[in-house]
Symmetry: C2
Subunit: 691 residues, 2 copies
């Protein structure tokens, strides 16, 4: 690709075009970050016009290189590149930078139709996401490439910043990338020596290159304003196939701004009209019109697009040959490229393990492991692992290889790196083929939240396997016992949280997670450490109704107020068994109870009002929830006259049965509290702290 | 201290005592981690008996060295050390390891009376917390040490693991520790080559020493079974005063267990009776009794206690001399050592800036900066900064120096390291003198959650300054707009979340945060980017009533149902102004509304039932909440017949006023929805998704 690495005046013109499109857009919005595009335009220009493989007419082309603007605040640099190289990003959009309804938001948002590979802005995320893209590349290459048919040989490029380098998640990701020898990674690090609070020297004086060398990276340092030097470095980075590459480019934030270059002032605010004028004068740029694109520059950028179109054509021909020579593999590949959806696995009933009330009680994490293994045999694109808790999370795919520096198996040892795992899962999902899963203890979802949030924002289909979901984990104590985590995850938009009550619901939860169309959003499975029996659903359908989010598992379904239940007890996960245990004792007191298993708030919320009213008829005001975690979130369903059984404090270290007793989560307590509700003695709208 | 670094048979006996006390306790609990204590006992033994300064009779002695078991799963090693050196940790407690009510939980929990300096278990946290302890040490030394009076010259020791090394937070912390040249840090890294999933080689092959050298650490490698080599390395680590030290000790997990040494099996489960027997035989240990402590070993350990008592006595003498020679400084110091509480600042009224409804509208983050600066002048132990967002968070203490490699100012450049910042704040708070504060955008609280959780679990008085608290931040878009964060923080036990509505409430929030006794728990201040006016409280007391968590700011206070309000509109932060804006229009429709400012759920929950009923009388069932974030959590207060105005989706990039309109958070919408509630047309217990 690197056929042309000599540069001249036209290239300087192009670089300045990138700079001032960005500057003008920030001015127009009166908001944004001009300094980064001004400083990083040279390296972005070299990368995009000499190396990056892309076809603006087919932005989803599977053989394209991936580009990540990890320093997402410099979004205008990306939008300028997309416009100039001919993506669906008209100039009009640049003029609407940061406005309602535009395709040019303040930070890049995943929009593959317009060439935006991933959402960035929260620092470190883009860096780590790229590692997932590189893992996906190698996995797909291993699965589909054949001699003479290197269909998946793309590289992962990124522009990163000092902020990316300081965030812990990037170090986690760099460590595993070096360990796995991900040679497809070529990252440019814009070392502009400036952070928001001032020179990086105020807080960041380490030897970044040496740190990355220690993690098995190929490291180079270049002058970020020297186009030829940048090109040579990228060339060398590409040539290094067994180590990821970091190119440390000394850049100048706000390059060209007489007063603001190399200062923090250039970072996060418009330059201001006067300084824009002085910068344009300094770099010999016409003062008007704004959004000026010299004709020669426009033509030069279009050459990259033409080059890309040719590459794409060649790739299509390669695929055609592949289909003839390797029809079986091609079939799977084409199906995969069309997108994983419910058709990926047609025979769910035949694949899912069967569980029955006569089985010995088992942890839902165990059931999850069985289901995952059964399904994985049929879904070659299900790839994942655990952040060093595989034996506890039951995430290993038995009989399949591991992903290593020399192999591309589908089991991944993520190491004790929960945050990077979640970001890597995002990058894997962005292959649009792989469905990644990753496990850890639920309590450590805290370490992953920034990356979970991005998965939710991008609606990526990833599956979190969060086990040890409550005080039920017992002796490890409060540092390991989730209290606030289920509620905190439910609070995240687009994230579907599922806490199955038994092995049957666990199988249905996996079915739900893996049956959805692409871009339906992440799913978090919340699983027990401790054993629970399989619920006897007494003729209500052996598999329950997890696909409704909440459903009746016991008691009257009659909606007639005169015959209906006296009390509704709703619960999730292991606490459904407490609710079920209370029904007989309540009946002995003449109280008809209904038990609702509520594995997922989000799925239930998506049901129609009619179904909701069937489960929670308005006339039944005596309602109680049971969940071994914070009661936050349940008041919506129990109502003003209801009660919430939960744990609004931190846990403790003791055997789990002791903890359930001490925290009042017992059948006996459920009976008493439900009976009290039915007695009508509870005052409706008095706000009481839950016991 | 290192007078005796030669070792003999008695020392081996002591090391084995540590090993088998730990092994026997894990067996008795039938739960726990035997491998780490078996492998790390030698280095812990050398550290505790030859170097660590402590006085078991005065565990809170300010001059003591700090010891952190960052590899918290090896808690039995710590409990064994505490027992043998004479802390308040009787053998009986070791026998109750991991049982309800014991002082020996599964992972160490902050318990300074028993010598446990900080809670550990979630990996990386102890490592990073120690960096905060080192910052505190240097700050206090700078404040109080005088020539000849090195009152604060303690070291920070830790035992860390490969898990600690893999977590991103430790890299963030290591980077800033190296930058600041924190020579008081001497960390032992137990390099046992084993993780839960198998050999570390499966996921972790970097050169850790080189990585730390790149971050300006002093790095040594030793044989972790060689007591003399360990002692020499600690000696050298102590001697290095301008760089933190890392001692990479090659250890053997499960040392002595014939079948399990150097395997993952030794990590997280009891060895089992047979293997315990074989291990005891292998190391020449009596098979019975369990919890055996040879007399000679007991005596040897007690020498360390005697040495510590002497050191403490000398320190007390030093302090006495200091009090005579530097009476003014001593006065401040003694007051500080007695614990920061409300007495630290007696004249709140004279110190807090006054704000008035006639002031120009200003962001609560600006008001926060003014208050913080005013208070800091009177509170020398208020120390903090921002994760590179100081100019946005308004966290700089003007006129005060910065904390650097050569100075110990009270402003800290944390760099783009939110997670380390939060963990460092924990360590600073554990000085029991410093009150740390740290700022970032609210959305990035996600990066800090594991450390926030530990602050809450330990009830440390730290103050988070979370600005840019909603879609009100505008153009930066959904990656930077918090939606789920306020609810997610409210879900954390012991954490007090305060979202002030104006400058007046902001001042009161700081007063609240800084007036509490030690160990009252962390406070999160949630502050706007955008300007808001100062509320005209119309004779209700110029300062409102933030100390109640929720209070009436407008409308009838009459509790008589016949005269009371028709609707209660409750809100927090900037949305209180929407609620206030709606009152007049509602009155024109004949609807009497009450507006409740609710800056803090947690403070309100702590009020008595009588006060709660005054604010939210049971007979007023038409209730509405307004908050520019997820509606989760508000249903408890609005009740079944209420309504919640909020945002249950991600935000968007646009000017903030546009966003408020597009998301329906306007005075007009509030009027319509409140009027609809009053009309009684809303069905009580139907579960509806919020618009």
């Amino acid at each position: 690709m690197s056929n042309n690495v000599s540069f001249g005046a036209i290239d300087d013109l192009c670089v300045n075009t990138l700079r001032f499109l960005s500057v003008d857009a920030v001015e127009a919005a009166n908001s944004g970050h001009p300094g980064m595009p001004m400083g990083d335009a040279p390296m972005a220009y070299v990368l995009w016009t000499r190396f990056l493989r892309f076809d603006p007419k087919d932005p989803k082309w599977f053989g394209r290189d991936r580009f990540i603007l990890s320093a997402g605040h410099g979004s205008m640099l990306l939008y300028s590149l997309l416009h100039l190289t001919g993506f669906d990003m008209p100039l009009d959009q640049l003029k609407k930078f940061r406005q309602w309804g535009s395709h040019t938001p303040g930070h890049p948002e995943y929009d593959i139709e317009r060439g935006i590979e991933t959402t960035t802005g929260p620092l470190g995320q883009g860096f780590a996401t790229g590692v997932g893209m590189a893992i996906a590349q190698r996995y797909l290459a291993s699965l589909y490439n054949r001699p003479g048919y290197p269909l998946f040989d793309y590289n992962i490029y990124a522009v990163t910043s000092d902020g990316d380098m300081m965030e812990g998640v990037s170090n986690e990701a760099a460590s595993i990338a070096g360990h796995l020898g991900l040679g497809s990674i070529v990252y440019l690090y814009s070392d502009n020596k400036i952070t928001i609070e001032g020179p990086t020297g105020l807080s960041f004086t380490e030897d970044v290159g040496k740190r990355f060398e220690a993690m098995n990276w190929h490291v180079q340092a270049v002058d970020g304003n020297n186009l030829s030097a940048i090109a040579r470095a990228i060339e060398a980075g590409k040539a290094e196939r067994t180590r990821p590459s970091l190119i440390i480019a000394r850049t100048n934030i706000g390059y060209g701004s007489p007063a603001k270059q190399d200062t923090a002032e250039a970072h996060g605010a418009p330059l201001g009209a006067g300084e824009v004028r002085r910068a344009k004068e300094a770099l010999g740029w016409p003062l008007s019109p704004e959004f000026h694109i010299p004709q020669e520059a426009a033509e030069e950028f279009r050459k990259a697009a033409s080059r890309g179109a040719l590459l794409k054509k060649n790739w299509d021909a390669l695929l055609k040959g592949y289909q003839q020579e390797h029809p079986e593999a091609a079939k799977g590949l084409v199906k995969a490229m069309e997108g994983m959806d419910s058709k990926a696995l047609e025979d769910w009933e035949g694949v899912l393990p069967a569980f029955s009330p006569s089985d010995a009680p088992s942890a839902t994490r165990s059931a999850s492991g069985k289901v995952l293994n059964a399904v994985a045999k049929k879904m070659p694109h299900l790839v994942g692992g655990s952040a060093d808790l595989g034996p506890s999370n039951n995430t290993a795919l038995n009989g399949f290889d591991y992903f290593t520096a020399t192999g591309a198996g589908r089991n991944i040892h993520f190491g004790v790196r929960e945050h990077a795992m979640a970001a890597i899962m995002n990058g894997m999902a962005q292959s649009n083929v792989i469905v990644p899963f990753g496990g850890t203890f639920l309590v450590f979802s805290d370490y992953m939240r920034p990356a979970i949030r991005l998965a939710a924002l991008m609606k990526l289909n990833v599956v979190y396997v969060f086990t040890h979901d409550s005080i039920g984990l017992g002796e490890d104590g409060p540092t390991h016992q989730p209290i606030e985590h289920i509620a905190s995850l439910r609070a995240v938009p687009n994230l579907t949280v599922i806490r199955p009550a038994d092995a049957v619901e666990t199988a249905e939860a996996w079915r739900y997670a893996l049956s959805r169309k692409q871009l339906s959003g992440p799913v978090a499975l919340i699983l027990t450490r401790q054993n629970v029996p399989v619920i006897d659903r007494q003729g209500r359908g052996a598999k329950g109704d997890l696909s409704r989010g909440a459903y009746i598992v016991s008691g009257s379904e009659n909606a007639d107020p005169s015959a209906g239940p006296d009390v509704i007890i709703m619960a999730s996960g292991s606490e459904v068994h407490i609710a079920l245990g209370a029904t007989d004792a309540l009946l002995k007191r003449g109280i008809k109870s209904r038990v609702v298993s509520m594995p997922s708030f989000e799925i239930f919320e998506a049901q129609d009002a009619g179904y909701k009213a069937t489960v929670f008829p308005a006339h039944v005001k005596a309602r109680m929830s049971i969940e071994a975690g914070t009661t936050m979130g349940w008041h919506k369903y129990v109502g003003s006259q209801g009660d919430t059984m939960g744990i609004d404090r931190f846990g403790a270290s003791a055997p789990y049965k002791t903890l359930y007793e001490r925290f009042g989560l017992t059948v006996e307590a459920a009976v008493e509290r439900a009976a009290f509700l039915v007695s009508g003695k509870k005052d409706g709208l008095t706000v009481e702290t839950t016991v």
